[in-house]
């Protein structure tokens, strides 16, 4: 049984035991030190989480880069920290099939996130609870970049399948007031629209500092009717995740081990300036008028730890967080209809770039698989550059993908551009924001009825190469 974490703290202990967490014990300034460490940790191979014990002017600690390396990612899954990306992809897929695993609902007195309660709105001060800081220089304020946010469907408030646990950027705008970015194609926007049509508030819980797989699933693009907590249990290899009822809303459930839970509501039909914010494509998204949340109730653990992530030019922590959790759901959704698909690598900028390997059943099959990607909820708007390769090409091995492109593609028939499609508005090449063209490169080998006039025979490795690979590795390790 893989190791399972019900809160952030137990995972931080595992990271530390494995040499994947460093502590900065000296006092640091909120700006620019915390963000600088996030960038630095991402620059280091197998970069560790960085825990700041003392931040000037604040009582509590902050940790960054918790998901920011393949080693940390493997430890999150309870795997050895040397597990390869491809091994982790296949392990997540194996566990994915366990969905749904019902969460365990704890009593209030059993839940660590309820250790302390602030029940009067006037007593709430986010700056006392969280060592807030500016992440990128031109950000419009201090942001929560890694919170897991819980909302329900206003038309079916008790439908647990439609309970949404998602990650949306949060700009702090006052002691108990924050802004939120809800893009039109995000699940929360469906719920927001239903409430705003009736001029109703949207009850919301913002949870900060969670077990690593809660954060992971909150940023995973699953279907609207799939509950994220039930996926956390699946990815914990069948061990349910622990949740507890919100204090204010009986139909909302929060992770029982959260460091901080902020409860309140989205103000209906109100928009005010939010941003800029340095976003995952490695550039700023500008100021726009976006939603506002009032926080009226808080619970938190004693000495809460603020977990936040740095975003910079890829790769930084967010790229590790959104790499396989974008690839796996897309793979699962496509292979349901096309079992020929072998693997999906959607690790590039949250799936804007995507490589799919597939067996080819008939001529044009590669393009058909690409169209299927473009008809998934996430791929439809995010995916822009789609490369399809044969089943014998490993989509996680970029030199092999380049080989497929250089030897399989005839640009006049294998490269297609589809104009005027949905696009990811934070992609700076999307114009108008939210619209884009799609590029499909079919690098698969032609199959009947498509002619293949110069059919070739692939080179095979010489007999006994595995033996020599092992021998050479052994000799190298002895040098």
């Amino acid at each position: 049984m893989a190791k399972v974490y019900q809160d952030l703290r137990s995972f931080l202990s595992t990271l530390e035991e494995n040499g994947q967490l460093v502590r900065i014990k000296e006092e640091v300034n909120p700006e620019p030190d915390i963000a600088a460490a996030g960038r630095a940790a991402a620059n280091i191979e197998s970069g560790p989480a960085v825990l700041f014990e003392k931040v000037k002017g604040y009582p509590y600690s902050v940790v960054t880069n918790v998901h920011g390396s393949w080693a940390n990612h493997a430890l999150m899954l309870g795997m050895d920290k040397t597990a390869t990306t491809k091994e982790q992809f296949h392990e997540i897929n194996r566990r994915w099939d366990r969905f749904p695993v019902k969460p365990e609902i704890l009593k209030r007195e059993e839940a660590p996130c309820k250790e302390n309660t602030i029940d009067k709105a006037e007593d709430i001060n986010l700056f006392e609870l969280l060592p807030l800081y500016r992440i990128n220089d031109q950000d419009g304020g201090f942001f929560l970049s890694k919170a897991s946010i819980i909302t329900a469907d206003p038309n079916e408030p008790d439908n647990f399948d439609k309970l949404n646990v998602g990650t949306y950027r949060i700009q702090v705008k006052g002691k108990n007031r924050v802004g939120i970015q809800a893009l039109a194609f995000h699940d929360i926007a469906i719920q927001l629209e239903a409430a705003e049509r009736k001029n109703e508030k949207v009850p919301i819980c913002i949870t900060v500092g969670n077990s690593p797989l809660v954060t992971y699933m909150a940023s995973t693009p699953v279907m609207y009717t799939q509950n994220e907590y039930e996926f956390v249990g699946a990815l914990q290899d069948g061990v349910p995740t622990q949740i507890v009822q919100s204090d204010l809303y009986k139909n909302l459930y929060v992770p029982a081990g959260s460091e901080v839970v902020l409860e309140g509501y989205i103000e209906p039909r109100v928009r005010e300036v939010e941003g800029p914010f340095g976003e995952f494509p490695g550039s700023y998204s500008g100021s726009r008028r976006q939603c506002v949340i009032t926080i009226t109730h808080v619970t938190h653990r004693t000495n809460p730890i603020f977990e936040n992530l740095y975003l910079g030019i890829p790769w930084t922590e967010i790229d590790y967080l959104m790499a396989l959790n974008t690839s796996v759901p897309l793979y699962q959704q496509i292979k349901r209809d096309f079992p020929e698909v072998q693997a999906v690598n959607a690790m590039y900028t949250h799936g804007i770039g995507c490589i799919i390997s597939t067996k080819v059943r008939f001529g044009g099959f590669g393009k058909e698989v690409a169209f299927r990607l473009l008809s998934t909820p996430h791929g439809g708007s995010y995916s822009k550059i789609i490369i399809i390769v044969d089943e014998f090409v490993d989509p996680f091995n970029l030199p092999q993908v380049m080989w497929a492109l250089t030897t399989r593609v005839r640009p006049d028939k294998d490269v297609v551009v589809i104009p005027n499609c949905p696009g990811m508005p934070l992609d700076p090449s999307s114009y108008p924001a939210g619209m884009h063209s799609k590029l499909i490169i079919d690098a698969t080998t032609p199959k009947d009825p498509e002619p293949n006039p110069r059919e070739v025979e692939l080179l095979e490795p010489p007999a006994g190469y595995e033996k020599y690979e092992a021998l050479i590795r052994k000799l190298m390790s002895e040098m």
Binding site: G57, R134, V273
Partner: protein, 68 residues
């Protein structure tokens, strides 16, 4: 005090450091830019806002019509 982004003059102190008296956080009530007293904001021209721009910024997500 003026907002470094929109030159607005409705500036509020939204926080003082919970430990020691080492910083304050200010916020512009027109454009909601916020900064700490220990920072020296230098807003790039691209991100500056004029008051008349604020009302015409894109609305995300769009506000739907009310149900009848």
């Amino acid at each position: 005090m003026k907002c470094p982004r929109c030159d607005g003059n409705k500036i509020e102190v939204i926080a003082t450091s919970p430990v020691g008296n080492v910083w304050e956080v200010y916020e512009c009530m027109d454009c909601f830019y916020s900064w700490r007293s220990t920072e020296t904001p230098h807003i790039h021209d691209k991100f500056k806002l004029k008051k008349e721009q604020i009302d015409t910024l894109q609305v995300i997500p769009p506000i739907p019509p009310l149900d009848k």
